[in-house]
Amino acid sequence: MEARLSAAWASVIAVGAGTAALKAVGPVVVGGRRLPPRLLELLSMLAPALLAALVIDEGFASGRSLVLDARVAGLAAGAMAVVLRAPIWVVVVAGAGATALVRLLT
């Protein structure tokens, strides 16, 4: 128990410090300075690239496998809300509702 507890705290401290440093790289090191327009243009494409990868990760990944489960219904409902130009919270609620419903029924 003693060892487990200190392993937990060691992880909390190391992960916390490492994450704080990763998050700070841009705002602290580059902070406020103007980046070259070409580079900014490139960095603005990070959003669609990363968000699409997050959709795959949140919607289909289960550990190291890709699976089709109730989350697909959530994505479908969310996509429908997006197409209907619903506000983002409607997209989120539709995703949760459809996922929960399919999970309840299956």
């Binding site: 992960v15 704080a20 980046l35 690239a49 190291r64 983002i88």
Partner: protein
Amino acid sequence: MAAPLVPAAAALGASFGVLARTAHVGAVAAVVMSATTFAGSAQVAAVSVLGAGGGVAAAVVAALLLNARYAPIGISIAESFRGRFLRRLAEAQLVVDESWALARGGTAAFDRGVLLGAGVALWVGWTGGTAAGALLGGVIGDPKSFGLDGAFAALFLGLVGSQLRSRRAFAAAAGGALIAVALTPVTPPGIPILAATAAALAGWRRA
């Protein structure tokens, strides 16, 4: 704008708290982790590794791989952070996928006010939820039965949708998705999302 995300963040935080409890990570450690690390997937990964009997090094590496994306994300928005060192350091901690994506949302310009507002709201929900989950444990049901995982998948889908304003953005999104699909089965968690940043290069040379 972020208000509807707070209950979702709290519910996810609660599921992290429950997970920490089953992994024998104490409630205080779990709450401190949520308050300081403030990055859901990395925390879940670290605690899962500990719970499965993995060592501290494995837990830390897994979590930091998942969070490596915050370096390029931070650089992409660095211009909007001003003021003294400590202020920038503190504000940078409010960057999470959701706050960053919302702040990039409607317009081409990055909105630092939205980032900070959404960041604080999500932080309160996440940390409070963790405390509830870690202390109350099984009293709250399995968050999956509320479809929370599907909610966040839909959230990211909606946020992608708001980004698709040019052919290049389409190419970047398609590339990011393809990289994630290709790498998920063959690399440790975190790598697919980090590698997907390379898709930002799609169409860059053609420009």
